[in-house]
Symmetry: C2
Subunit: 344 residues, 2 copies
Amino acid sequence: MSDKRTELQDLGEFGLIEKLTNRFKTQVPSTLKGVGDDAAVIEINEEEVMLVSTDSLLEGIHFDLMYMPLKHLGYKAVMVNLSDIYAMNGKAEQITVSIAVSNRFPVEALEELYEGIQKACELYQIDLVGGDTTSSRAGLIIQVTALGRAKKKEVVYRSGAKENDLLVVSGDLGGAYMGLQLLEREKEVFKTNPEIQPDLDGYDYLLERQLKPEARKDVLAFLKELEVKPTSMIDISDGLASEIMHLCKASELNCTVYDEKVPIDGKTASTAIEFEIDPITTALNGGEDYELLFTVDQSDYEKVASNPHMTVIGHMTAKGSGIYLCDKAGSLVELKAQGWKHFE
Amino acid sequence: MSDKRTELQDLGEFGLIEKLTNRFKTQVPSTLKGVGDDAAVIEINEEEVMLVSTDSLLEGIHFDLMYMPLKHLGYKAVMVNLSDIYAMNGKAEQITVSIAVSNRFPVEALEELYEGIQKACELYQIDLVGGDTTSSRAGLIIQVTALGRAKKKEVVYRSGAKENDLLVVSGDLGGAYMGLQLLEREKEVFKTNPEIQPDLDGYDYLLERQLKPEARKDVLAFLKELEVKPTSMIDISDGLASEIMHLCKASELNCTVYDEKVPIDGKTASTAIEFEIDPITTALNGGEDYELLFTVDQSDYEKVASNPHMTVIGHMTAKGSGIYLCDKAGSLVELKAQGWKHFE
């Protein structure tokens, strides 16, 4: 090792991945796309590809067992990965699940975790095909790899957006983040006084967004029904702003997003205000919504606008135009990605 | 959760996996083999399958950075997974690598780790196609998923052994375990007196077996050259005894292994004696040799015996005959798997 010491937080997660992997060259003919999209793309026959994506959830970093039921955790770990396959416009078919766990967990706890995984497999029609278990010195770690399949010509990459394409988002944003804020607040109350029962009545939607998210397999079905093929797509795991940046970078474009178009549920907005957070911030910089962000050709506007699960929030602009958030008054603010900063 | 509490160590790793996964049903037509072999087998076209295997290495459980150079660790993490693909008689083509790492590691340390991964990719002609990085509260975790490909009719499962088949092992066994013992001894010496330089001269082979193992891609090539297709196969990661048990269980057979046939390098044997360990124990219950254990038809005896990288160590017997180790004097001792017991 040289004497130079660069701290991980100086690079951030995406800078780090780029630094570590940019020297790797692709040498296997079947590798169509390696690092740099939601999933890797591997040719499996003349017409089809396999999609591979992997994600880890670590206790204390991604979840807190104080309020995350193990069954939901298992379910969520699967959703996080399926979401990446769907973001490539693929059909998820198999997963492997590796867990590292300390002795403090009894077998019954892991059975609960696997009940959630099983539920996800049943509902999304995928098979658990492998994995490993090992002991951990610090908490629970769940690592899922998802495998999917797609027709080669139907795969949607982050890089396919064209100038003037419409930027579309599924569902609504910021709910998972506000769910997390609520759970954190109640945890603090509980730590101060364990006698006080958590006050989470009426917040079901936000809690569900945080504790039991769904991957948007249904959105792919809607798009197929509408005969719309997105030109580019990414899943929203780190917050809208961060994902917009990825899409723009991969497609070598910029974009303008309209503040008031960003879909935010009423409960998310009112809870944000209760927490003195600007609702748009929960959508832009909150994470874990697992919605899809995609671009479509202008000619698909009517089709997309007709579907209640999709919202046009902006459009792609030429590189160099800047990536802007436009508010009601028409003033432009440059978008900055916050995303998750694990290393800080 | 019910009130019952079963400790993880009561089940052991394999019992735990079975308990957690036995309720899962295969529902996707392309899943040919799920949990229960070295890799999952997924149909990708009429003639071919994709093989998928995943394994994690955790600091403090699987490696100690006090003596494991990061570059070697990266290399080894890849080998561990390729070995599983080769154990299915497949060609490894892609890997994903996920790391969890705490702030105490500078970027330069991770670059070393990835240098080892890159070296492995180059030498074994595989592509790094994805992964993620996240922060960890406790040490370094490396999780690799390997993807391979094979002709459907060439895949070798654990379950294919027939009665009277010969049991064959590649390379020699116990070296990685003795390498670990040496490193642990020098670590203790160093902890007592940091002035004393480690005394590892002349132990290169054992250290290499532990720190920089190779997956036996070459053995598959030898078998192809010899026109021998194993009837069953497994890689030796947990020690010969444990792998024999897996093979017997999957093939619904028993076997007899001849003590003096088990290949043990001279340096492994002499070092074992120095440590007051019976050399056969290092082969049976040591781990991490990453050799291949397979069965072949009796008619292939001459071919296999002609290759210096393979040793016939026994033969398969009918179920109910017992799984025995036969010593020079001809007395039989029942084999018991020790393997790794992470949860103790």
